[in-house]
């Protein structure tokens, strides 16, 4: 009876005994590890997880405290599933605290992103590295550009030289604007100017901008929920985020000529942050949907990381600015993509407008 209930569960569940050997695993668990129960049961848990996994420490902690714990973003990679992180509930059996149940749930892309941002010290060191780069690169760039402007303004220099110096100017400007964009990713102060905004007005504004520039040949289908409460956000940042997503969608939609923009109230959207007991509700949902070729599957898990891009000329900064900007405003972004449909889903928390 219990066995069949456990097998019905959609999440991997397994039980380890006092020697850390697996004594039970449900069928989703078999799929998760890519081995049959026959192979897994009786063998040590450490055969299933990466060598540097903190599971042994977590097991000790659970046995000592006789209390369950939840570990966000625990590494369960193996050869078949590289870069796999899951949320693990590790709970002792009530009648024998040496035996411990693992219940795993896979993280969505946005949860991965959240946990990365919250837990990772790497992002901090990345951020200070960016600061240093800004400082160290801007001076020599100013020198290069200044020198080339001096050559350019020299009355004696001929047309060919002026063409080359203008090239130096333009390319230096490109590097400066790239550095400025990286600085934006790093900048955490944007958040001070948040206000209650009618997201439909913002979306309309962004569509108008798109219609008059990069997306003039695209049809915009709006599916708005007029009763949607105001969202609490930084206006400029929000416009930048929507424009970024619309621009991506326009580029992806080039052969289908339409983009759908949808807003709705989704009370099911909840995210738990590792430091919170109760999951936060993020019901205010905005979707930007295109019907292009979709995002390559291998790219999808890292799509919000800096320097990841599918575009030939892409810098891979657009979506990381989008994701970190939303994260700063307490919102999350998720993406679902298959050939013919890519949906970027943004969820904002509901805040009381006093």
């Amino acid at each position: 009876m219990i066995d069949s209930i456990l097998n019905e569960l959609r999440t991997p569940v397994f039980l380890v005994n006092m020697n850390d050997d697996v004594v039970y695993i449900n069928s989703i668990g078999e799929e998760f590890f890519g081995h049959s129960a026959n192979l897994i049961i009786g063998s040590s848990i450490y055969n299933l997880i990466p060598e540097d996994s903190p599971v042994s420490i977590l097991l000790k902690r659970v046995r000592k405290s006789k209390q369950g714990l939840t570990e966000e973003s625990l590494d369960f990679s193996n050869i078949n599933f590289p870069n796999r992180k899951v949320r693990a509930h590790i709970v002792p059996l009530s009648f024998d605290s040496n035996q411990i149940i693992f219940q795993l749930s896979e993280l969505t892309v946005s949860e991965m992103f959240q946990s990365q941002r919250i837990n990772s010290k790497i992002s901090k060191s990345f951020s200070s590295m960016v600061d240093m780069l800004m400082h160290e690169l801007k001076n020599p760039l100013a020198g290069i550009k200044g020198a080339s402007q001096l050559i350019e303004s020299d009355l004696n220099s001929d047309k060919n030289i002026k063409e080359l110096t203008s090239l130096i100017n333009i390319e230096s400007d490109r590097i400066v604007s790239l550095l400025n964009r990286m600085e934006q990713i790093n900048n955490n102060d944007v958040i001070k100017d948040q206000e209650f905004l009618n997201v439909h007005e913002i979306l309309n504004h962004c569509t108008r901008v798109a219609q008059n520039s990069f997306g003039s040949n695209i049809k915009y289908i709006e599916s708005f929920d007029p009763s949607l409460p105001h969202i609490y956000a930084n206006k400029d940042l929000l416009i930048q985020i929507f424009l970024n997503l619309l621009k991506n969608a326009c580029e992806a939609a080039s052969n289908t000529d339409k983009i759908k923009i949808k807003t709705s109230f989704n009370s099911d959207k909840k995210i738990s942050f590792s430091h919170e007991e109760i999951p936060s509700s993020l019901p205010l949902q905005i979707e930007i949907i295109d019907y292009g070729t979709g995002i390559t599957k291998s790219l999808l898990p890292n799509i919000f990381d800096p320097f990841i891009s599918s575009k030939k000329e892409g810098k891979g900064l657009g979506l990381s600015i989008v994701a970190s900007g939303l994260n700063d405003m307490g919102a999350v972004i998720d993406v679902m993509s298959s050939p013919g449909l890519t949906n970027f889903i943004i969820n904002f928390p509901l805040k009381k407008n006093k």
Partner: protein
């Protein structure tokens, strides 16, 4: 005689490329320019009573320009 009409400028920046670019631009515009990459050099140039104007970066390898400036204020720097 003509140089009396020209303004004399000291340019201080530890970044050589910035220093050279600013100096060249000012020289071309008709100014007399002397430059240095250090606070000590700046001090020497100011003391030499050459300049009418000082353009300086703040952070220099051997000290902060803002620390040196008050000590130079008594001098004939316009």
């Amino acid at each position: 005689v003509q140089s009396k009409n020209l303004k004399n400028i000291i340019v201080v920046d530890d970044d050589r490329s910035i220093r050279v670019v600013i100096s060249t631009a000012l020289t071309r515009a008709g100014y007399n320019v002397k430059s240095s990459g250090t606070a000590a050099g700046m001090r020497r140039l100011v003391e030499s009573d050459f300049a009418d104007i000082l353009i300086t970066d703040v952070g220099l390898p051997d000290g902060d320009a803002l620390d040196v400036l008050p000590k130079l204020q008594n001098m004939k720097l316009n």
